[in-house]
């Protein structure tokens, strides 16, 4: 699997911007992974060498994981990384059936829009109640906001893929009469 979907080489400005943004966000997710790694290693060293474990390491890794997942969703979707099953082979690539592809991505976009909306609701709720983690007393709402933002970005990606599928259906359909 390549990290760059070749179908993006002829992408328009919106697509290119989205690709650049989601790549940057995925890279930020990568830095969070490095941070999680360092926290866990530090915890091990402090525990075995200094007999003083890092009590907050568990929470730090938990919260880091939220960021990693939602930083990667859109980038993964844009580079064709999400697993789909291919029962019928190339049948669905036929120009006449490409609208199905558009619908599939469109429905996915709506679903993730709903997730973004509900997560925003949760974030507002957590903000109002001021809920925090047990040890670190870190507020939880920013992480719910990150979930909402990641889901929204993935919804936008899916919507774009849907439009793209529709457009290529129009082009190919027209081209082949």
């Amino acid at each position: 699997m390549t990290a760059h979907d070749p179908s993006w080489s002829g992408a328009g400005p919106i697509e290119r911007t989205l690709a650049a943004v989601s790549r940057r966000i995925a890279e930020a997710g990568g830095i969070v992974i490095l941070a999680m790694m360092l926290v866990a290693v530090l915890d091990v060293v402090l525990r075995y060498v200094f007999n003083a474990p890092l009590s907050s390491s568990y929470e730090l890794i938990q919260l880091g994981m939220v960021l990693v997942v939602y930083c990667g969703l859109a980038w993964c979707g844009l580079t064709g990384g999400h697993i789909a099953v291919n029962f019928v082979g190339a049948l669905l690539n036929r120009p006449r059936l490409r609208w199905l592809n558009a619908v599939v991505h469109g429905v996915g976009a709506i679903l993730f829009l709903v997730i973004a909306w509900r997560s925003t609701g949760e974030a507002v709720k957590y903000f109002a109640s001021g809920e925090t983690t047990n040890m670190l007393k870190a507020p939880l709402f920013p992480f719910l906001a990150a979930v909402a933002a990641g889901a929204l970005l993935y919804a936008v990606t899916l919507a774009l893929l849907s439009v793209k599928a529709l457009r290529s259906a129009g082009e190919s359909g027209g081209g082949h009469g």
Binding site: G29, L34, M37, A40, G81, I83, A84
Partner: protein
């Protein structure tokens, strides 16, 4: 509509959505939420969509995935495959079919730092295939042993397959990892036995390589000791009870980063150049890691919403009860299940197969009295078979990418003896579950 009818409708809808190539995770999420809404009301269904994506991602167990993927990526990028192949070649290359056996040994040792079959097949394949071509190896044997050897990637820990199984069935990641060690070594030995057998019947398929002097062998061992050390420390640490799997993955990734840095700086093109190289390698490794994590997470969260819906419909427990009512010998049920998996594996990608079937199969298997850890191992081997059987064998596709001149048909033919070896391995595990369960049972708590 009765809950059962809703459940059946849900499953039909799921397969229709998968049929039109909706990503597996999205399809399960969608059907799960709608089904949940119909059965339990829309307010709780929508509330689940608000809380679950956050609660489920906030998991230390889930963090094992990116950290082990990063470790494998960094090891791969810093030339682990070359080191390991050289090592295996120096020790067994002079046997008949020795280069193919060396490929299997290299695959199983790379598997100890990588949790992915595809990565194992590609990285080792890139090094091993040109070498086997140079020595005039039969293309079927050469590609077959790389494709089969690659499957060791998810049997020998760390393993993304075991992590996903553990997360879906709430089993211990550490125990599953350890349960994969002995079967992984057994399967490697069976692969080598298959190679020895093939080249005994047809010596021209795999001429022996040059015999390496002892000095070369020791040097190869020293060169590869960095990678082997990373594997031993991280997996050994789980066994010895020093680390949790998350910590083992972090320490492994940290050591792999150090190793990559050492490799970059040793090339001697100046510290700035080395730093630029290291940054680049790390960035690519991280980007791929984030991508794989998102991919696995999407199907996991899909399952996390689909499984409770299916449980609400009572279908899994009804099915399990029905099977128990039939009073079939449990082993017969197991054999039928495995046969179904092998057939499904021909058409479906491994992860999605696991995620889609476990909500139904797992209750059946545990009610029949099978050990869930043991079943995890069997399941992973059967998934591996799916990776190399036609028409949809992912490993074969990626090997085709490396060995473009070999026709797909020939690769599939080359795989047959290794497939037979896998069946022998499954047979042995069915007869002697201890092969898998002995090591986790002896684990330090």
């Amino acid at each position: 509509m009765t809950p059962t009818a809703i459940g059946i409708a849900g499953m039909v809808a799921l397969f229709a959505l998968l049929g039109v190539r909706m990503p597996v995770g999205i399809a399960m999420l969608l059907v799960g939420v709608v089904g949940f809404g119909v059965l339990a009301g829309w307010a709780p269904a929508l509330a689940t969509l608000g809380s679950m994506p956050f609660e489920y991602s906030r998991s230390v167990d889930l963090a094992v995935i990116p950290l082990f993927v990063l470790m494998g990526n960094l090891c791969g990028a810093s030339g682990a495959s070359r080191d390991l192949y050289r090592l295996a070649y120096a020790w067994v290359g002079h046997w008949r079919g020795g280069l193919a056996s060396a490929t299997v040994v290299a695959c199983s040792s790379f598997a100890a730092v990588s949790g992915s079959s595809l990565a194992t097949a590609v990285t080792i394949g890139k090094v091993a295939l040109p070498e086997m071509e140079r020595y005039g190896y039969d293309a079927r044997l050469a590609t077959g042993c790389v494709a089969a050897g690659g499957t060791l990637g998810i049997l020998i820990p760390p393993s993304t397959g075991f992590i996903v199984y553990a997360l879906l069935t709430e089993q211990s990641i550490g125990r599953l990892f350890l349960a994969g060690v002995v079967p992984g070594l057994l399967l490697s030995a069976l692969f080598i036995a298959a190679i020895v057998l093939i080249t005994w019947i047809r010596p021209e398929y795999g001429p022996p390589g040059a015999r390496a002097a002892w000095g070369v062998r020791i040097r190869a061992l020293v060169e590869a000791s960095g990678i082997l050390g990373i594997a031993v420390i991280s997996i050994g640490g789980i066994y010895a009870g020093v680390f949790t799997p998350t910590e083992a993955a972090s320490v492994g990734a940290f050591l792999a980063l150090g190793f990559a840095a050492w490799r970059c700086f040793r090339q001697g093109a100046g510290p700035l150049h080395a730093l630029a190289r290291l940054t680049n390698t790390t960035r690519e490794a991280l980007l791929d890691t984030v991508r794989v994590t998102a991919m696995v997470f999407l199907i996991l969260i899909g399952a996390q919403i689909f499984s409770p819906f299916l449980a609400l419909t009572q279908i899994p427990s009804d099915l399990a009860g029905m099977l128990q009512g039939l009073n079939l010998p449990p082993m017969a049920v197991m054999l039928v299940l495995l046969l179904v998996y092998v057939i499904l594996g021909m058409f479906m990608e491994g992860f999605s197969m696991m995620v889609l079937t476990l909500p139904i199969v797992f209750p059946i298997v545990t009610q029949l009295g099978f050990d869930p850890i043991w079943f995890g191992v069997i399941m992973v081997i059967v998934l591996e078979m799916g990776l190399i059987t036609p028409p949809v064998g992912m490993n074969v596709y990626v090997i085709k990418g490396v060995a473009a001149s070999v026709p797909m048909r020939q690769i599939f033919v080359g795989i047959l003896p290794f497939l037979a070896a896998m069946m022998v391995c499954v047979g042995l595990l069915l007869a002697l579950p201890k092969i898998a369960l002995w090591l986790p049972a002896s684990m330090v708590r």
